[in-house]
Symmetry: C2
Subunit: 253 residues, 2 copies
Amino acid sequence: MSTEPPILDVFWQHRTIRFFLRQPIPPEHLDLIIQAGRRAPTDAQGQMFAFIRVTDPVLRDRLATLCNDQQHIRDAAEFFVVCLDVHRLRLLVERCGRAFGMGPRISLIYGATDATMVAQNMVVAAEALGYGTCYIGAVQNNTDVIARALALPKGVLPLYGLCIGVPDPERIPPYTRPRIPQALTFMENCYREPSPEALDEAIAVMSARGDWRDNLVRYFAAGGTMAQREPVMARAWRQQGLEVDGSPVNSER
Amino acid sequence: MSTEPPILDVFWQHRTIRFFLRQPIPPEHLDLIIQAGRRAPTDAQGQMFAFIRVTDPVLRDRLATLCNDQQHIRDAAEFFVVCLDVHRLRLLVERCGRAFGMGPRISLIYGATDATMVAQNMVVAAEALGYGTCYIGAVQNNTDVIARALALPKGVLPLYGLCIGVPDPERIPPYTRPRIPQALTFMENCYREPSPEALDEAIAVMSARGDWRDNLVRYFAAGGTMAQREPVMARAWRQQGLEVDGSPVNSER
């Protein structure tokens, strides 16, 4: 399209990278990536996030093992555990001589969205600089254990990991992944219930490279990966002081 | 920096825009913004989001009123209510002949992060095209009412609004907002508890344009805006079938 600025190419070229060369990211590039993250919007200026950069190889290896043994966590130049953080906000409010008032539900939602605005800016900046990225949802296989491994106080919860590194040029996916048809995710003025035909079309579109039904069942059906993560998340919310019981988050250590 | 690709300028120039000209966004630009959103990463290919584009002026006005009467919701060329959506995923899994297995905690966290990767891509793309953006956290003042106004089924929850439009050139903020010092949000290998001095420095840095303490107390202290939103969020989670009771999300209408 003639009106299209080349800077949007980073979106069209996006693909998740799971094979990295063991090469570092120069400090000035890492700094640009982090500064891009720090410029993200933030709800009510709360900046409810904490990113733990994992540079210790022993810790990195342990986290990779806890995240379904994903080798790219070990190989990537950089690996962050992305957390929501309302602990710091409590300390700041108390420093102003007031009691903290955020409840767990608002903390969980705003913390997750604040942290993700930062993380996604970092992904876009990293890809613009030529690096590859991979979010690691498998942090939720052992959220509670990972929270302890990183000495996270109450009020801080790991959301996912983020690998950033130099892609192995031999193993960059040759295609970008499909998305379900736009009409299923972008609607006008009210929710539009998908028809059975639209669901079938979505499954067909997503199955361009292998049957998407396998993915749907493995992750999202009863007994699947997500169902297995629910009790882990329950333990982690409780351990990190974010259990949903109506009282403000108590993030005392 | 000579190695810096031009898209990074978008991050350095970012500021939230709250004054828009009443000018439309050309369809081809709106399409680029939406396509950039659709290219965002998604956890386990779940695409757990629904964006409701509000074009009906009566509905737009009502939503603005429900969101603390923010005039920019009425003025912006485009306004989206950004939602997490596991309802569609349930339908897809059932279409595969299996029972849905996602619990509410995993749905809330992954849904919020999936939706926000899309939204933040849209923000970056919109700003790259010269538009201004503003997230609307005040959706949470009336989440449950807004969910009904948009006919959202169970399994779908509004997270925030997103205004995109042509900035009023007379009222673009002349400065970018400060952020708390990096050491408080980016840490290495474990959580670093902020010292009282670091908290005071954060408050000083953030108070470059007006006392940040006022903001902290108004939003985050006991009795503040966030505390008032907690019972609304509790009602909305219950209403939308996302109450945290250990069972899979039931998104039957």
